[in-house]
């Protein structure tokens, strides 16, 4: 129960972060959305054993967190929360792919471990980029950007409604769960039968609320189309942000900066 409540507050915190006024927050949401997409495509398009090429991409989340005044610790926790998904996708690679690929002195590292590490790095990069997008823009503005860029209106609206009512629904579920636990003594009454009835009731209440919302929409002239009135304007800084970062991503994708840097330092040493 405490978990539901705290995760609710957590979502709320992500939203609060997006109210800040920093150079990152002032950018046009479309630009941030597109840049994030290009970043993700660039990161996932590397070969399965790539590690060195991925590392320089860390500059994007690091710079954005600094510019957008976002709390790195909080974002790291969020990423850790999602980490098990990537972990279980990659964890069987070391078992299946045992051919030794890299030698670190006397230790041979198999291809499986390398690809597992690569998966984890990619996961960290892409998920942090997504969180930064939300914390630096706000989901509502991201939806607006999706809409302006031609995503189907119905999906955008679904997402907006989901985001609007997830708070109402969770609060309602929370109250029901709390009411149940207050009358369940010694763990009796917390079993599956009361759970299924609780979920059923939640569904009925949700349907009833959906009906009332629909009535409220009809009462204000809803005719099947939702109109949004929020003009977006591209500024010079938006173009610079977009071109600068996507140029860098292409560069990092085509040339392995880590190897160049390493070779250069080795050259200096010799």
């Amino acid at each position: 129960m405490g978990n539901i409540e705290s995760s609710l507050l957590n979502i709320g915190y992500l939203e609060t972060l997006s109210y800040q006024q920093t150079p990152l927050h002032r950018l046009d949401p479309r630009v941030k959305l597109l840049t994030t997409l290009i970043f993700i495509v660039a990161v996932v398009s590397f070969g399965k054993y790539e590690i060195t090429g991925l590392v320089p991409f860390l500059i994007y989340p690091v710079v954005l967190i600094a510019v957008g005044n976002l709390p790195p610790g909080y974002l790291a926790k969020k990423i850790l929360l999602a980490a098990p998904f990537a972990f279980f996708i990659g964890i069987f690679n070391p078992l299946l792919d045992r051919a030794v690929l890299v030698h670190l002195g006397p230790v041979g590292i198999s291809g499986g471990w390398v690809s597992f590490a690569s998966i984890m790095i990619r996961f960290t990069l892409t998920v942090s980029a997504a969180f930064i997008l939300i914390a630096g823009t706000g989901l509502n503005a991201v939806c607006l950007a999706l809409d302006k860029m031609g995503a189907p209106r119905i999906f955008v609206m679904q997402l907006l409604f989901l985001y609007r009512y997830i708070f109402v629904l969770t609060a309602e579920a929370l109250r029901m769960v709390r009411a149940r636990s207050l009358r369940a003594f010694d763990g009796r009454g917390l079993g599956f039968s009361s759970y299924s009835s609780l979920v059923g009731h939640l569904l009925l209440r949700t349907l009833e609320r959906a009906r009332r919302i629909h009535l409220a929409m009809l009462s204000r002239g809803f005719d099947g189309k939702i109109h949004l009135l929020r003009p977006l304007h591209l500024h010079g800084r938006d173009v610079v942000f977009f071109l600068g970062w996507s140029g860098l991503f292409v560069l990092l994708r085509l040339y392995n900066l880590s190897q160049w840097g390493g070779a250069w330092i080795m050259g200096l040493v010799q």
């Binding site: 709320g12 939203e15 609007r164 609320r209 009535l215 009462s219 204000r220 949004l228 009135l229």
Partner: protein
């Protein structure tokens, strides 16, 4: 011709499960009147409110708004004329930001962006909620939500304002502010409520609903003094009309 009149003629309505909720209701509310709709839980108040703007259509009988009968064909006009404020603001505030929500109605009417902006700011100013315009509705307090829900309806410039339990869940000061605000409106106003003290303050006329019929229709002062009537309808004298427990202990 006035849009500000609501007239019901022998209205009957039953829910699809066969529950007869409204059984022959007739009354006429004229321009600028402030009317309270009171009655027990389940007397049919909310169902009646939904008839006023065609959310529900009567099984028999007729609802007229101005000179226009409420039918499927006249819905657009009727909904522009009758603004309905729901009991739970969470049902009514569904757009991502307060501004979007208040703009929802005007945009559906196809007004120009400048006109929409003007209407929205005017409506928000009327309820004192301009500073909330860029906030998402779920971060608002109960009183703020209520104010915004009212603004969302005012932005349509309705001639008739219909409200379901406007003072429920408000703290006393917010409730008082809302009552003062509603007093300043020159709309025709219909309020369904259990808050009889608010009714006493706001509405010169009261309709008492009992088991789907009109039990009484008259000046609020007289109805609120009629203890027999009130008791038979699960109501009670407004607290303000009852003796002071300190000066006159029972």
């Amino acid at each position: 011709m006035s849009h500000h009149i609501i007239e019901l003629e022998d209205l009957h309505y039953a829910y699809p499960d066969g529950n007869q909720v409204l059984q022959g209701i007739s009354f006429r509310i004229t321009h600028g009147e402030k009317v309270a709709l009171v009655g027990a839980n389940g007397a049919g108040k909310s169902t009646l409110l939904l008839q006023f703007n065609g959310c529900l259509l009567p099984a028999s009988g007729r609802v007229r708004i101005g000179e226009m009968p409420v039918t499927k064909k006249t819905l657009t006009h009727v909904r522009r004329t009758v603004g309905l404020v729901f009991q739970d603001p969470d049902d009514q505030l569904f757009m991502p930001l307060v501004f979007d929500d208040v703009a929802f109605g005007p945009l559906n009417l196809g007004l120009s962006p400048e006109e929409v902006e003007r209407q929205v700011m005017q409506a928000l100013a009327a309820v004192g909620a301009v500073h909330l315009k860029d906030r998402p509705p779920y971060h608002l307090s109960g009183g703020e939500k209520r104010a915004v829900a009212i603004a969302a309806v005012l932005s349509l410039a309705p001639a008739i304002l219909v409200m379901d339990e406007p003072t429920s869940n408000l703290d006393p000061k917010t409730r008082r502010q809302l009552i003062e605000l509603l007093k300043t409106f020159d709309h025709t106003l219909i309020v369904a409520s259990h808050d009889l003290d608010m009714v006493l303050d706001l509405c010169p006329r009261t309709l008492v609903l009992k088991e789907g019929r009109i039990a009484a229709d008259g000046p609020t002062g007289a109805i609120m003094q009629n203890e027999e009537l009130l008791a038979s309808c699960n109501l009670e004298k407004p607290l303000r009309l009852q003796g002071c427990p300190v000066c006159h202990p029972a």
